[in-house]
Every structure is written in structure tokens, then in C-alpha cells.
Symmetry: C2
Subunit: 203 residues, 2 copies
């Protein structure tokens, strides 16, 4: 087998998720993942630092795409429009394999505190990438941070709905992510009045 | 020294933060933390599972207080009012030691990927506790999740401002957390119109 055979990375992800599902995260070794994927251990380590990184493999790419979508949206786009553009850009990178793996990845994360931590940090990283891109557009800090949090929540909710197979699968991830963003934005109007104990905003 | 001497837990936290600051998180051992705090290693392990848990020591307590504040707020309180009540309840547990340790804890977290992960998971846990308490009050899911995220952001922003020593310190943490919550709520009105690509919310 060629050492740089195309698709090795994707096969490693599928093999890892299969093994995490079958026997649990803790019991799965890098050697087992590599064997299942039909590659050597050293090929594994060319793609991932350790078995945990397999499950957050797309973080760098996702961060880049989210930020690019925001940066390249039109100058007069609202903060939420810019975030929507980021979600569309990032969604375009997610195909059938991502859809199929989604529920199993969530199950693996739910079963492992170690993976939950890594997953939580991934969300923080995605939000930070979006916040930086929004701030670079001149969006003030609290608005940028809030818009980014909505974006992360929308992406996660949309991804869950998409990959749980709601609908017939004809709609891509972007459809679900943008719908979730709209839901969350609507929710903002249902938070209620300013809390009674709050103080002036002019600090 | 009495094995259950009062204050051992707090002394362990201070000792750990001091050592993380002086020599870094990775280089610090449980034995060093215990020695600095003047307790035995077994006393350390009576309070914490490992050195990492020292920095998220208050998570359980905070989650409980946030949820209690939400649960016990008046039946007609808006979701945001209920979150504000949770923030006030949680803030009441944070005293001068927490204020003084804040900047050093943030520095230690910023310097360690391992601590960043644990810290990110702590935020997820606090949000989940608030979401559950809001849902139990009948707040619909997306509103509950959004209100909880605002609550976590407000608590973190407020804690940072409070412990960075803005103002004269006469105001407690609750003052800063509620102000941050009001800021974030105001920011929601600056997100812009619904994103152009979004679809009907009636799914």
C-alpha cells in the first residue's frame, strides 16, 4: 500500500469511530485504529497527534472556513449575516461521511470525560475564530462574542439534526445550521426584559 | 496538624495557583502543592482527584448555586431574570480569595492546553446546569440554552472585571456579572436582522 494513499485520513477517522463505538474510547489503541484503517502506526501519527485528536480532526479547517465566510461577507452584512456566511462556508466542507459519523461521534464523546473536554475546547476554538473575524470587521466585542456563541450553537444544533437524519437528507448541513441560527436569534427576543437587578450599561 | 484542619482546601488552592504561577502547571506535583499548603498528600487527595481539579474546584458548588437561584426565582420571572438570580446566588459564594486568585488562575489556564480543556468543560457544565433549571421552569429549549450561554459569558466577563480590580473593589462580583449580562442582552439587539439565507422557523 502506498504510504500516502489518498483517503488514509478519512479511513482513520472511520476506523477510530467504529472502534470507539464497539469497545469504548479507553480500550482503543492507536495500533488498533491503524490496523483497522489498513495503515501503519507511523501513518496514523502523520495525521494525528494521538487517538483523541481523531475526533476533533476538522477543528482547524472548520475554524478557517468559519472565519473566511465572515471575512468575505459583504461590508454591510450584519454581524448575524456574517456568521451565517461563515456557517454556510463551513457546512460546504461537510459531506456524507460527516453526516454518517455524527451520531457515533456524539455517542463516543458522551461516553468519555476525556473526549468531552476536548470537544468543549473545540467549541471554544471555533467561537474564538469567529469572534476574531467579527472584531476585525469592526463589530464591537460583546456583540462579536454573542454572535459567535450563537454561531457555534447553531452549527452544533444543525449538525445534530442533519446527522440524526431528520428530513430526507436532500438538504445539506447549511440548511439546518442556518435554520438553527434563525431559531436562536428568535429566542433572543424571548429572553425577557433586562434583569431587574441590572445596572446602567454606560460603564 | 489536625488532618481535617479547617481551611485546608482553600490553602491547597492558593498553594497550587502560586506554584502554577511560579514554575508552570506541568512542572508542579501534587506533593509540592501539599507541602506548600502544609498538609499531607492524602489530605490533598481527600479534597481533589488530581492537580488539575484544583483549578475547577468550585464547579459543583457553582452549578448548584446557579441552578438554585434560577429555580427559586419568582414564577413570573423572565428567563433572563431567572439567570440573573442564578448569577447573584453564585456570586454570593465568591469572596476576597476568589477575587485575588482570579488573574493568576486565568494566567495558568492560558499557559496550559490541559487546563484550557478542563476550563472549557467547566463552562459547558455550568451552562448545562442552568439550562436544566430553566427547562424545568417551562422555558423552551432554544431560549433556555441561549439564556444559559449568556449567563456563563456574563459570569466569566464579570469575574474577570471584578478580579482585575476595575473599580475600588467595593462592589461585589454580582454587580459585575449582572452588568455583563445586561451588556450581552443589549448586544443581542445589535446582531442585525435575520440572516438572509435563513428559512422559516416553523419546522
Amino acid at each position: 500500500m502506498a504510504r500516502w494513499e489518498p483517503g488514509a485520513r478519512e479511513r482513520l477517522v472511520v476506523a477510530a469511530v467504529d472502534l470507539f463505538t464497539e469497545q469504548g474510547y479507553d480500550a482503543t489503541t492507536v495500533a488498533q485504529i491503524a490496523e483497522r484503517a489498513g495503515v501503519t502506526r507511523s501513518t496514523f501519527f502523520r495525521h494525528f497527534a494521538d487517538k483523541r485528536e481523531v475526533l476533533v480532526a476538522g477543528q482547524e479547517t472548520l475554524s478557517t472556513l468559519l472565519a473566511e465566510g465572515i471575512t468575505e461577507s459583504s461590508a454591510d452584512a450584519s454581524p448575524l449575516d456574517a456568521v451565517a456566511a461563515g456557517l454556510e462556508r463551513a457546512s460546504s466542507a461537510m459531506g456524507p461521511v460527516n453526516r454518517e459519523l455524527g451520531p457515533r461521534i456524539r455517542a463516543a464523546v458522551a461516553a468519555s470525560a476525556e473526549l468531552q473536554e476536548r470537544d468543549a475546547l473545540k467549541s471554544v476554538g471555533l467561537a474564538a475564530a469567529m469572534t476574531a473575524a467579527l472584531v476585525a470587521r469592526g463589530v464591537p466585542d460583546p456583540v462579536a462574542q454573542l454572535a459567535s456563541e450563537l454561531g457555534v450553537l447553531a452549527f452544533k444544533r444543525g449538525y445534530a439534526q442533519w446527522s440524526e437524519g431528520e428530513g430526507d437528507g436532500a438538504d445539506g448541513l447549511a440548511h439546518y445550521a442556518l435554520a438553527a441560527l434563525a431559531d436562536l436569534h428568535s429566542a433572543a427576543s424571548l429572553l425577557g426584559p433586562r434583569p431587574a437587578g441590572s445596572i446602567d450599561e454606560g460603564r
